[in-house]
Subunit: 247 residues, 2 copies
DNA sequence: AAGTGGTCTAGACCACTTC
DNA sequence: AAGTGGTCTAGACCACTTG
């Protein structure tokens, strides 16, 4: 963990860089076996930043449940939570989720359409009803096992002059939005439910009796701007974890 | 929003008190219509605390998705998120969840048992396999509609000299743990899935085809100490929302 | 008594957006 | 140029836990 590593980290703010660094060190680095983190003043000195920045970063880690800070004791690591990999409260691309548990991700059965927005989608994406949206349905595989069926809807206007039909929609939608629309997804507001879905989706996911987990979500970029509406159907291939906090 | 209100707020740390205050003001108080919050220096002056504390509190609000802080612009309120009421990433007692959406909460079909912990529960609660646990099953109603079936398991030793069979188990388990064991639940690690449950549970919840949402959770008090293992089966009476963040 | 995190002061400069 | 949030300095004291 050297100072010069920090400048190359993701994130524009120093505290987010330190946050990422500490998460990495907690998961697989020099704190991979640690039950405590060093004192705030120590960390500040080691990483060459002020205690302010360290406290910001530790605050982020605490919010994510990775650590607990206790007066008089120190910064205690919560290993149960550091070691989780499929967290429902973290927004990831489908590919990253699949790779995160050690499988090769791929997509097939891709259907690309352009449609007018219905009332529901128009409201969610804050666009006019009837405005054109691009809808991409696909099936995601983990290795050879079908694991997710997704329907992603994006306002056509976000593509500007880009011809969306020429893009490779087997790529993660996050990447398309980032490369061709210059938009970065920061978070998503998600509704969770259990469903039997449609016979078509059940067939594609190769399930029989078993119900599916449905995530209906609106994804936002900077300043709460909605840019993506999606439905994702999950088989029990994934075991989603979630930290629920008292407020 | 007066200074003397602050001292009576919940939480021991000043920043958590300010956090609660600001959430209340954002939901139903003087910022209920606000698109922005005042500048940090202004808030600090108004509330009689330093900018440090304000920044801690705003950090909490940002982490919960209520606001976004932008350099050069200010603190922007995310009304979509402030106005949510059933958040899956917030840990609430069943009663509070039901009352939160405007219904009267009650419990029936209560079954109380004492059992030895099986391997799974022993591991989750960090107790010896075979150690005695108290299991309380019940059905929660929203008004007259069955909405949740829950199974709560607590290590017997936590009750010390208290005779648990004499307690009123229609009360929230949080309250029993707090009053009789002196333990406060801070958060829970939850596994989310879709299930058809058992015929008994389906019958009690009065559902036909519709699958249920299952939350399997371990609840923790201070220093990551597990004190409660529970299974909760939810009908589609609840519409759970969740903020998923990119990290 | 020593060490920890939580709060505070009273500034300062930087990066960014808006006017 | 003015105002915002992000970072920083160089301290200080308090509340709490441990030796």
């Amino acid at each position: 963990m050297e100072k010069n590593e920090i400048s190359s980290l993701s994130g524009s703010l120093m505290s987010t860089k330190i946050t990422s660094l500490l998460i990495r060190e907690l998961k697989t680095g020099i704190y991979a076996q640690a039950e405590r983190l060093p004192a705030e003043m120590e960390l500040a000195a080691e990483l060459g930043v002020s205690r302010t920045v360290i406290r910001d970063a530790l605050g982020n880690l605490e919010n994510a449940g990775f650590i607990e800070r206790v007066r008089g004791i120190g910064t205690v690591v919560n290993r149960n939570i550091v070691e989780l990999n499929s967290r429902l409260d973290f927004k990831l691309e489908y590919n990253d989720m699949i790779q995160g548990i050690g499988f090769t991700a791929s997509a097939d059965n891709i259907i690309l359409k352009e449609e007018p927005a219905d009332e529901n989608i128009a409201e969610k994406l804050e666009i006019d009803q009837g405005a054109r949206i691009v809808c991409c349905q696909k099936r995601m595989l983990a290795g050879t096992v079908p694991a997710i069926y997704s329907i992603d809807c994006i306002p056509l206007e976000l593509f500007g002059k880009v011809n969306y039909t020429a893009l490779d929609w087997s790529q993660p939608v996050f990447d398309l939005l980032s490369h061709y629309c210059g938009l970065t997804i920061l978070n998503s507001l998600t509704s969770v439910s259990a469903t039997n879905a449609t016979p078509m989706i059940r067939a594609k996911l190769d399930v029989k009796e078993q119900p599916l987990l449905l995530l209906e979500e609106v994804s936002f970029c900077k300043l709460n701007r909605p840019i993506l509406y999606s439905l994702s159907f999950y088989t029990d291939f994934f075991h989603f974890s979630l930290l629920r906090k008292k407020f």
